[in-house]
């Protein structure tokens, strides 16, 4: 059943959407349009769990090749040697696959957390890590609601590792390695607006196949990674309780209070000091 659906989708998908959307047309960065973020649309119904994306990712980032397989019994996790993993989940529809990686949030918590601007949201959309700035405090890991950044605990010169949407390749006009490697068309690359439009089209044309939910459209204030799935995302190990406001908005109130505290508190303290200046002369007799 599952396979039939995939074959069907494969034909449909290859003929339709991917062509329009640029995996095969090889959309490079649109330099004329710097205001739009690029992102990825991952369609769980098309993914067959072949791990091509994992191998391509490992190869293009000089990481070791994966040695395990998606297995419903095991939750595979990203770590300092892999920036993306495909997991299998047993759902009502049989085995369903899902690829995990950095969500490239519109307003990333890791970027707001970073005090050295090492975590950086590029104007093209990818969230990248810059080692020459990072001091290894791991506040990005504490703050990321998706638990994406990984740290090399066993290195004297540790790096933070996470998906950077192949930022280097993007600048050369190529598409991300995982997108290029995916023969099923499960991942497509494009501007976020185009991707949402495409996701809506797929849901509209196949309402029975998809849950009517684009994960990442609103979650955490919107993400560059968008997910379509045949089941609710919590069945695929994703958090569905995340807030729709961006995570940096949680600290905005505190940070905005800083300038007013710096103006008001010293003035107040000085005022109290002046007002109480003469107190001790009268009250002091016994103590001093």
């Amino acid at each position: 059943m599952g396979l039939d659906r995939r074959v069907f989708m494969k034909t449909l998908g290859l003929a339709g959407a991917t062509l329009a959307l640029g995996k095969s047309t090889g959309t490079a960065l649109n330099k004329d349009n710097p205001t739009e973020f690029y992102g990825l649309l991952y369609d769980s119904t098309r993914c067959i769990g072949c791990q091509s994306c994992e191998f391509a990712c490992a190869e293009s980032h000089n990481l070791p090749e994966p040695e395990d397989y998606p297995d419903p019994e095991v939750v595979r996790k990203m770590d300092e040697t892999r920036r993306t993993v495909v997991n299998a989940y047993t759902t009502d529809l049989g085995e369903t696959y899902v690829k995990e990686q950095c969500m490239h949030c519109n307003e990333p918590a890791c970027v707001a957390a970073c005090l050295t601007e090492a975590m950086y949201k590029t104007k093209e959309g990818p969230v990248i890590w810059r080692g020459d700035k990072c001091m290894g405090c791991r506040f990005c890991m504490v703050s990321c609601p998706f638990d994406i950044p990984k740290f090399e605990y066993h290195s004297s010169n540790p790096k933070i590792l996470k998906c950077d949407m192949c930022y280097d390749r993007l600048q050369k006009g190529e598409i991300p390695a995982c997108v290029e490697a995916c023969e099923e068309g499960a991942i497509v690359f494009g501007t976020r607006r185009e991707l949402i439009k495409e996701a809506r089209r797929r849901i509209h044309e196949n309402p029975d196949l998809y849950k009517d939910h684009i994960y990442g459209e609103h979650e955490a204030g919107g993400t560059g990674l968008l997910y379509l799935a045949p089941v609710e995302m919590d069945k695929l190990g994703f958090k569905t309780t995340l807030q729709n406001e961006s995570y940096p908005s949680l600290t905005k109130g505190f940070l905005y209070s800083v300038p007013s505290v710096f103006v008001l508190v010293p003035a107040l303290l000085l005022g109290i000091h002046e007002a109480t200046k003469n107190n001790h002369q009268t009250e002091d007799d016994g103590n001093e």
Partner: protein
């Protein structure tokens, strides 16, 4: 603990008789007994800790800690930095009372409390460097090429740095008295009020800022400890955390360094403790009331009937409400025993609260929980013991607990 029978008052340099260098070299020699129980316990731990710190920088943080990809901040941040800085809050509270409210009866506490605060920041915020994976880049947010101004940690880091300077200025007249530098003392004393005002402002922001660090970890902290008001709770609790530390440290210092403290200050000490206990009780009442408001506002009762819920109740009732009543009772009956017990319970409460937010309640749903390794604990103890060694070194040499030299007193 630290025994001090062999020496009496600190002796400041007399500029007419001795050159500064000769004086400094003579001051480097140890004073007091070497084989005290405290030294015998702390020295091997410090040596072991230094070895572990070398391993940490050589083989990476994972070689000595139990930190994971899910729990990137453990004991070193949760206890050394977050809890240590809360305990250092006494410095801004005492300077507020003495210099802003002009409540001179606490004046004898200022120097020792500021010294304690300063050393706490140097050592506990300094312990942050051990936790940085790439500490050589720590200058980046300071020298100005990479200002991550949207980061709460940026604010906290800058505040630590500036507050250390403010505290050093507040403490500097003591150093000047020690060195017999009359002119410098005069100039530095003139800067005290400005440093105090700046220091209190910084403290309000970074005491709360330490709580604000955890605001974005909304989905990771147990709902009984997460709220948008963490910064406010951290700030209010730093008041009685700091004062409890002042009471606790004061009662130890008055025993260990008793020969340095003048008769007058010895006599007034109990009266000061009683006044402090009233302030503690007041601040704790405000804190407890805030906690109740937050509890109702966030509809937390559904979480109560669980092991974390009982732990929460224990913290709130056993380590906030109960010591608050002890402080109040101690104030009413003028019972120093009550006050000291309350101070110790309050300090335990602060440790428990800060660890609940940062470690115990962090990623509480993960099946594999973080627990610090013996090496992390040893390094934490190394930091604490080294701080006490430096504290003792200064107390025995500078007029911190002892009275200022006669020439300096005349000016006041």
């Amino acid at each position: 603990m630290m025994e001090m029978n062999s020496i009496t008052y600190t002796k400041s340099r007399d500029p007419k008789k001795q050159s500064t260098w000769k004086f400094l070299i003579s001051e480097l020699k140890p004073k007091g007994k070497i084989f005290t129980p405290f030294n015998i316990i702390s020295a091997p731990i410090i040596l072991l800790g230094i070895v572990l710190i070398v391993i940490r920088f050589w083989k990476g943080i994972g070689s000595v800690t139990n930190l994971t990809q899910e729990v990137p901040w453990g004991l070193w941040i949760g206890f050394d930095v977050v809890t240590g800085v809360a305990f250092a809050g006494g410095a801004y509270v005492i300077t507020f009372m003495v210099y802003i409210l002009n409540s001179k009866k606490y004046h004898s506490l200022v120097r020792v409390t500021v010294l304690n605060g300063f050393l706490a920041y140097v050592f506990y915020a300094g312990a942050l460097l051990l936790d940085l994976g790439r500490p050589w880049n720590v200058i980046n947010p300071i020298i100005g090429n990479n200002f991550g101004t949207s980061s709460v940690l940026f604010l906290v880091a800058w505040h630590f740095l500036l507050y250390m300077m403010a505290q050093l200025i507040e403490f500097s007249p003591t150093i000047a008295e020690w060195l017999g530098a009359r002119r410098a003392r005069k100039i530095l004393s003139g800067m005290t009020l400005a440093a105090v005002i700046f220091g209190i402002t910084l403290s309000t922001l970074h005491q709360s800022g330490l709580g604000a660090l955890y605001l974005m970890a909304k989905d990771k902290i147990h709902p009984l400890w997460y709220s948008e008001f963490i910064p406010l709770l951290f700030f209010v609790s730093s008041i009685f955390a700091g004062l409890s530390m002042v009471i606790f440290e004061g009662s130890i210092s008055h025993r260990v360094f008793s020969n340095q403290i003048s008769e007058k200050n010895h006599k007034s000490h109990n009266g000061i403790l009683i006044s402090l206990s009233r302030i503690c009780a007041g601040a704790m009442f405000a804190y407890f009331f805030l906690q109740i408001l937050i509890f109702i506002h966030e509809k937390r009762w559904e979480h109560l009937d669980s092991s974390m819920g009982y732990w929460y109740l224990f913290e709130m009732i056993g380590l906030v409400l109960f010591p608050m009543m002890l402080f109040f009772q101690g104030y009413r009956t003028r019972s120093i025993a009550f006050i000291k017990t309350a101070a110790i319970l309050t300090m335990i409460g602060i440790i428990v609260n800060r660890l609940n937010v940062t470690v115990i309640g962090f990623m509480w749903e993960e099946p594999l929980r973080y627990f610090p390794s013996w090496m992390e604990i040893t390094i934490t103890l190394t930091v604490i013991f080294t701080e006490i060694w430096v504290f003792r070194w200064i107390i025995r040499r500078m007029p911190v607990l002892s009275d200022s030299p006669a020439w300096a007193q005349k000016g006041e």
